[in-house]
Each structure stands twice: as C-alpha cells, then as structure tokens.
C-alpha cells in the first residue's frame, strides 16, 4: 500500500480516490489535457479508463443541459452528425430512432446505469477484463453526442468546448487507449491541431461513421 502525503494523495486501496484525483487536476487546469490524461504511478489502467469515462459522462451533463434548450425533437428528429448515418438509440429493447435530445439523454442515462451496475463494474478498485470491452461501446455512443452538437448546434458546442475542452480531451483519451477506431472520430479536432502545428491548410476531411 502506497501512502503519500500532500494534496494529491493516492491511496491505492481506496475507491473513489482516482475520481478525486482526476477532478482535482481538471479543476486546476482543464486545458492541460496531458496532465489530466497522465495516470499516477502504479495506477491500474482499467480503473484509470473507467474513472475517466465516469468523469466524461459527468461533464457531458453540462453539454446536455445546454442542448436541452436548443435541440428540440421537431428540429432534430433523428440522431445524426453528417448526412451519412443515422444513429439508433441502444437503450431500448430494439434499437429505436430517437430524436437527438432523447438519444442524448438515453445514452447518458444508459451509460450511468452501465458504469454503476453491480453486474459489470462491481468494484471501483479493479475492473473485470470482460467489462473493459463495454467501455469501448460506451465511448462510441458518447462520441455521437459530440458529433451531433458539432454539426448541428455549433455555437453551443464551441462555447462549451472553450469552457471545458471536453471534446479534445475525449478524443485524446479514446485514441490513447484505443477505445474507438479512428474513422469514427469525425469531429475535426485533430485536424485543427495539426493545422496549428503545421501552419498548413488542410481541408477537414469529411469522414464516414458507422452506427
């Protein structure tokens, strides 16, 4: 058992400490994605991924609250990002074509249920191997909220992103741990970063995504 003093105490056998650690880092500087992403010494990778995903779901509430005002079922009747795909809501017995706001809410609620369920994640100190696969599907569905907001409610997305850098962080997170395939990452965040770095213009590629 590692006992350390100081503000960022990480006692490995205490559940919920990872969450607190992540939250502290975010609070101090939410734009410093590298620092937030960096797991402390000896941190179990499964637990790290799990706790981060919980934090993402938590913070996405803010985006959902903002979307609730603008995203109406009559304007956004389906969950789409680009014209290519329609996403079906997996929270029902048979996948249903929910309006965008319903999709957002159901996905977040479903993620909450799954991540808190005793069946898949009984402990917050160690994650079962079989449950790690679930994280990937949760990430995929959560990402669609970002993409819908980006393509259909741009202003909200931008405001929120500037406050929290959430999409950036999420994209980095997903790529770092290979939780989603790159083709699905249609929100052009990386391209913008590459633009800044290379000072060269590149057209944002319009990718295709699967349901």
């Amino acid at each position: 058992m590692v006992m350390a003093e100081g503000a960022t105490v990480v006692r490995r056998n205490r559940p919920g400490t990872t969450a607190k650690y992540i939250q502290q880092n975010i609070r101090s500087d939410c734009s410093n994605i590298e620092k937030i992403m960096e797991p402390p010494e000896g941190q179990d990778e499964g637990v790290w991924k799990y706790e981060h995903l919980r934090q993402f779901c938590l913070e996405l509430n803010g985006l959902a609250v903002k979307l609730q005002t603008e995203c109406h079922p009559d304007t956004c009747t389906q969950m789409t990002a680009t014209e290519q795909w329609i996403f079906l809501c997996a929270a029902h017995k048979t996948p249903k074509e929910c309006p965008a706001i319903d999709y957002t809410r159901h996905t977040l609620d479903g993620a909450a249920c799954l991540l808190n369920s005793n069946k898949y994640f009984p402990s917050r100190v160690s994650i079962k191997e079989s449950s790690v696969a679930k994280l990937g599907s949760v990430c995929r569905r959560i990402y669609r909220i970002f993409s819908h907001a980006y393509f259909h409610h741009r202003q909200i997305f931008d405001t929120y992103e500037n406050e929290t850098f959430l999409c950036h962080r999420f994209t980095r997170f997903v790529m770092k741990y290979n939780l989603m395939s790159k083709d699905n990452l249609i929100v052009p965040i990386l391209e913008e970063e590459e633009e800044e770095e290379e000072e060269g213009g590149q057209n944002p590629s319009t990718g295709e995504s699967e349901a």
Partner: protein, 759 residues
C-alpha cells in the same frame, strides 16, 4: 282414535316433524285438526296416502334409531372412559394404600429398633409382618371385574392417550414426564424408604400395563401437590397468611382437582409435607382433617429422620423455587387463575387436562402471573398459554433436568410479555431494527440531498454530478450478490450547471425544488412514478429557475401552508419565494451578513410564520417571516471564540423545539420560546451532518461523517440503533438522511455516490 287422526294430521300438517313422541304430538294436533276438519281428513284416506304415511313414519323411526345408536355409542364410549378412569383411581388408591402400609411397616420397624436401642428390650407391638401385596392384588383383581372391564379399561387408556395427543403431548413427553414424576416420587419415597431399607420403591414394583395409568395419576397427584405448594409458596409472602388459610387453599385446590375419593384425599393429606416445608411443624397439627393414623405424632418423635426429611424438603423446595418465575402474585389472584385454568381447560381437553405434568402448570402460573401483573385478562391468554406451555415443556424436556424450569418459565414469561406489548404498542412501527434494503447506484459523484415523495415509494436524490435522479423503490432490478436490491432511476433531472446541493418536494409531491452550486433554484414538475426511464424528453418537467442568489444554495425548505419556498445561500442571504409562481424573491433576510453565512434553514412546524436559521459561526436565529424581523437568537454556547459550524437545523414537528447538528459532533436541543439550550449530547465520532425526524415526532435520525447513522429516542435522548452505511470518501461520508412521511422507509445519501434505503 289417535291412530286414525294420524294420516289426517299428516295431510294438514306442514310443520317438520320432531323426533320426540311424534305419536303424542300427532295425537295432540290430531285433536285440533279434528275440530277443524277432521271429517275432511278422514274422508281423504286412500291407499297411496296410507302407504306414504307408513313410509314416512318408518323413515322417521329409522332416523331416530340412528340417533339412538349414535347416542348409545357415545354413552358407551363415555362408560368405557369412566371405567378406565375409575380403574385408574382405584389403582391410585391401591398404590397409596400400599405405600401407607409400607410406611407403617417401616415405622413399626423403626419404633422397634428405637425401642430396642433405647430400652434394650423388645417392644411388643404385636404382629409385624410385611404387608403382602400379592393377596391384595389378588383381591383387587377379583373385585376389579371381568375381562370386559379390563378391556374397557384398556380402551379408556387408549382414549386418554388420544386426548393427550390432541392436547399436544406426545408419548415421549409423557414418558419423560412420568419418569421425572417417578423420580420425584422415588425421591420422596427414598427419604423414607432408605431407612426402612427393605421395601422396594413403590414405583419400581409397577407392572407394565399399569405403568402409564398410575404414573399419570401419580403425576396428577403430584400436580395437585404442586398447585398446593405453588399456592403455599405464593402465599408465603402474604402477611395476612396463616396456616389455616394455607390449608384452605390446599383443601380448595384439592377439591377442585381431585375427584371424590375420600381415601385418596386422606392419603394425599399426608403428603403435604412436600408442600409445607417451612411450617412443617405446625401444619400437621393445624390440619383439621382427621387422618385416622397416629402418624404425625410418630413423625415428630423421629428427630433424626425429620432432619433428613427437612433437608430433602429444603432441596425440593429449592427446586421448586427455581422453577418459579420472578413474580409472585396474590393468593387470591392465583385462585382466580386456577379457576380460570380449570374453566378454560375444560373445552380444550377433557379429563386428561388434569394429568399434564406439573412443571408446565407451574410455567403457566408464571405466565399467568405476568399476565396478571401486566393487567391483561387471563381469558385472552389461554389460547396462547396452550402453545406456551408446550414450548415450556419441550424446553424442559430437552434439557432433561429438573432445575431448568426457571428457564422454561422465563421463556414463557417473555412470550407473555411480548404478547402484552404487541397488544398495547401496536402502532409503534419504529420499535424494530432497520435493515438495508435498497442501494441506489447511478450517480457519478456524491449525493448531497434526498427527498422522499409524500405518499409514493419514490425518492429524489441530488448529486454533485449536476443531476437529480428520481427512483421508484418498487421497481427493483434483481440483484444477484447482496441481500439489498438494486434500483435504477426512472428519471434524470438535468438543468443545473454545478453540483446540486439540496432538494425538497412539495407536500403533494407534484413539484420539487432543487438548489445548486450555481446559485439557482430549479423548479420541477415531478414526473409520474410509473414513467418509462427511456421515454422521450418532456421539456415541461422543468418549470423554471428561481434566480436571485449569487452563490451556492445550501438549504431549501418548502412550506405547504403558504406555498412558499425558503432558501439559504452562501451569499449570506435567506430568501423567501413564492413556490407556485417562480419569480423574484418575496423577501430577503440577513442581506448584510450580520449573523454570518447561513448553513441551514427550516420552518418552525409548530408555528408556520416563523423560521429558524443556523449559521456557520454557530448561531441560530428565529425569524418571523411576516414581520421580516429576527425574533430570537438562540443561546448557542460558543466557547472562547471557537465557533462551531452548524450543519443542519431542524424543527420538531409538534413541539417547540429546534434541533441542530453540529460540526463538533454534538446534537443540541433548543427551546423555541426561550431560546435556551435544553439538551446537548455527543452524538457521533465525527461531525454530524444531517438530521431527520420521523413523522410522529418520536425519533430522531442523525447522519455523520463517521459513516454511521443513528436513531435516537427523543424522549430519553438515547440511541436506539446505529448502523454503518456508506464508505468514507476523503473525510466525507453521509450528507443527508430522511424519513419517508408515510411509509416505513429511511434513506441516507452518501459521498460515495450511493443512496441507501432501509426498511
């Protein structure tokens, strides 16, 4: 003449025929009918009519015959039973007479020995020969009757056994009981038999067919002793008691319990030494019934033997004492009980009720004692006593010891106590221990506030993950692991931009209000408890936001009387809002932060115009909301400048008392009228964070950061139950606790993002 009238009566008579003397009745009615229309009746004679009449009469006769057969069978059974009983009595008498003869013989022997020792010469008492039992038995056998009687006696015994089984006594219990009785009798017999040293034990000579009969009867004898001794010992403490009264009791009970057998009674009186241990010297003299033997005088002459007898009696008495319960009622009460016992026993079981072994009777006395002292009618207890004394006997049987009667007695007494308690304290639903039933997992961060729906089994939790969730406790998911069930939320309220700190529901449950870190109070229309969790989004659920506070809203309280909402915030103000019309605040208190930052607010339940607020510097203020003035500053003992934050203030539902939960582990009680501190107690090992009072105002629940929830009795301020719930998450554990207003639920909100519900 009557015969003729018969058919006529039959035709004219519509009444149902009675079984007794139909002919006579027919005759009577026939006479009446004759005067009315006898001629008409007679004219109606016809062959079918006559045939019908004959058949009818025959059928009637057959019915009667069947009834008589049944009666005769019953009577025969009764006869057989009585035979058996008589046989039993005779055997008993025979046994006792044998015993008497034995003792007499032993006495004579002793006297001879004594005389020889004392005087050195032989005492000529006349012929001393050992009583020959064989001739007696032969005589008795001749007199007892033919084989038929033996058979009926056997039948009687079978019947007895059957009745005993009905009562609930199995054969094994009976045997054990008879064993014990045998031992007891043998013990008493040993006292005298040892000295004689010649006669075998009476019980030992019993032949097998007679085993049950005399034993059960001797146990009944012993039961009579026990009644007497119980009566005697109970009456020992009675100051007015004298030996006459004692004897009267004995005689009474004996006449109640014994049949009319003067010989047996006489013999039984001699065994009173078993009961009257203390007054052994006086009682034989005071006994008025003539014994016909010069036994007592002889007994007094035996110094040595009396000593032994006394010792044995003491031992026996101690055993008897051990069997009794703690309570000793009046003799009169005991007699009443006896009468009741006899009365109530009759319908349940017949004569064998006299035969049940003595200890359960004693136990039943104890139970009845306690029932009497509890002032519950004995009449209500016999059904339970039937059950209770069986339990008593089984327990005694299991231990197989004489001295365990006390334990058995205690069991029974306790049962009686519980029964009495249940009858009187029916509605006291909280007299029980709470057990965790549901675990509510779905929040991503700690839960800060809880509110129960007023009527439905619905709970709303407010969490630091910016959401509120609504849970229906009747919709549980099957959990495989723990005993506590998992519940999934049915609705998620999203509108806050920061952690949600508090939530309240209106008194109808239609609306709920939440206050958050973002300084807003959101008003919601509560969705139906049967909503589908994955239903489409209803924007109408969010009614609007009450804006006005500039900092986190820490406390909310809803007033149903005035449809008002009170909120306290970290910006130092307490604001009053109109709940039905979300607009600007109606009133603002403490705008200039004189009193500090309010940490909690509550309405005074006994006086709805007042509200009480606690501050983070330890002060408590009572405000009149109508005049917008502070009325009272409660006496909060601040020691040498150290202020103690008050985490929660609560107003008692009925009494003018304010209760506070302090950061320094105390719970304090203040009087609303004077502002004085009524009581202060250290409640927990860490800061007390939350309080809740049950709807009846009898119990207080407190939650603390030491991970425990405690239930307190408000009358004597004692802790009734403590349970540990929730894990500590960075020094914080339980944020809120709540009682359900109408159902039997309590809930706790934890920093570990779980809410637990207890039933």
């Amino acid at each position: 003449m009557d015969e003729h009238a018969g058919p006529g009566v039959f035709f004219n008579n519509n009444n149902s025929s009675s079984s007794s003397s139909p002919l006579l009745q027919a005759g009577g009615r026939g006479a009446a009918a004759d005067s009315d229309g006898g001629e008409a009746g007679r004219a109606q004679y016809s062959i079918p009519g006559i045939l019908h009449f004959l058949q009818h009469e025959w059928a009637r006769f057959e019915v009667e015959r069947a009834q008589w057969e049944v009666e005769r069978a019953e009577l025969q059974a009764q006869v057989a039973f009585l035979h058996g009983e008589r046989k039993g009595q005779e055997n008993l008498k025979k046994d006792l007479v044998r015993r008497i003869k034995m003792l007499e013989y032993a006495l004579k022997q002793e006297r001879a020995k004594y005389h020889k020792l004392k005087y050195g010469t032989e005492l000529n008492l006349g012929e001393m020969k050992a009583p020959s039992f064989d001739s007696e038995e032969a005589n008795e056998k001749e007199t007892s009757g033919s084989l038929n009687n033996q058979l009926s006696w056997k039948q009687g015994r079978q019947l007895l056994r059957q009745y005993l089984q009905e009562v609930g006594y199995t054969d094994t219990i009976l045997d054990v009981k008879s064993q014990r009785v045998k031992a007891l009798l043998g013990l008493a017999g040993d006292g005298t038999g040892d000295r004689s040293g010649q006669e075998p034990l009476l019980n030992g000579t019993d032949t097998d067919p007679l085993a049950l009969g005399p034993l059960s009867d001797s146990s009944s004898v012993l039961e009579a002793f026990f009644i007497e001794s119980a009566a005697a010992e109970f009456s020992d403490e009675d100051d007015e008691e004298d030996s006459e009264g004692k004897e009267k009791t004995i005689v009474d009970s004996r006449t109640v319990s014994r049949s009319d057998d003067p010989d047996a009674e006489e013999a039984l009186k001699d065994f009173d030494f078993l009961s009257n241990t203390e007054d052994m010297d006086t009682s034989p003299e005071s006994r008025s019934a003539g014994d016909g033997t010069d036994w007592e005088k002889d007994r007094q002459a035996w110094d040595v033997d009396q000593g032994l007898i006394t010792k044995l009696k003491e031992q026996y008495r101690k055993e008897r004492k051990g069997k009794k319960g703690v309570k000793r009622p009046n003799r009169t009460k005991l007699q009443d009980m006896l009468a009741n016992l006899r009365d109530t026993e009759e319908p349940s079981s017949l004569q064998p009720s006299i035969t049940p072994p003595p200890r359960p009777n004693a136990n039943r006395f104890n139970e009845h004692d306690s029932s009497h002292t509890d002032e519950v009618e004995a009449i209500t207890f016999p059904p339970s006593s039937g059950k209770a004394f069986i339990i008593g006997t089984e327990e005694a049987m299991e231990t197989g010891e004489l001295g365990l009667g006390e334990l058995a007695g205690l069991t029974v007494a306790n049962e009686a106590d519980n029964l009495a308690y249940d009858i009187s304290n029916n509605k006291d639903a909280l007299r029980k221990t709470w057990n965790p039933k549901f675990t509510l997992r779905s929040h991503f961060d700690g839960i800060r506030g809880l509110a129960f729906h007023p009527v439905e089994p619905v709970l709303i939790t407010a969490s630091e993950d910016h959401t509120l969730k609504m849970w229906n406790l009747q919709k549980t998911t099957p959990a495989k692991k723990n005993a506590s069930l998992d519940v999934e939320p049915i609705y998620t309220f999203r509108a806050h931009r920061g952690a949600v700190l508090c939530v309240v529901m209106s008194n109808t449950g239609e609306q709920c209000y939440s206050g958050g870190l973002d300084g807003t109070i959101q008003c919601w229309n509560t969705p139906s408890p049967n909503i589908d969790p994955y239903d489409s989004y209803q924007p109408s659920v969010l009614r609007g936001a009450l804006c006005g506070h500039t900092d986190a809203v820490w406390g909310l309280v809803h007033s149903s009387a005035h449809q008002r909402l009170l909120s306290c915030s970290a910006d130092g103000t307490v604001r009053l809002w109109n709940a039905s019309n979300p607009q600007a605040a109606l009133a603002v208190f403490n705008e200039n932060k004189d009193l500090g930052l309010p940490s909690s607010v509550d309405l005074v339940c006994s006086d709805p115009a007042y509200m009480v607020t606690s501050f983070n510097n330890g002060r408590i203020g009572l405000f009149n909301m109508e005049t917008r003035q502070q009325v009272l500053n409660m006496e909060s003992t601040v020691e040498s400048g150290a202020s103690c934050q008050i985490n929660k203030v609560l107003s008692h539902p009925t009494l003018p008392i304010t209760i506070t939960a302090q950061e320094d582990r105390h719970i304090k009680f203040y009087d609303n009228n004077t502002g004085k501190l009524i009581h202060s107690m250290v409640a927990h090992l860490d800061a007390v964070t939350s309080l809740a009072v049950d709807p009846n105002g009898l119990y207080l629940m407190s939650g603390s950061h030491d991970c425990s929830i405690r239930l307190w009795n408000l009358e004597n301020k004692t802790c009734i139950q403590e349970f540990t719930a929730h894990r500590k998450k960075f020094d914080e554990s339980i944020h809120d606790v709540a009682f359900h207003p109408s159902k039997c639920y309590i809930a706790s909100a934890g920093a570990d993002s779980l809410a637990k519900v207890f039933v």
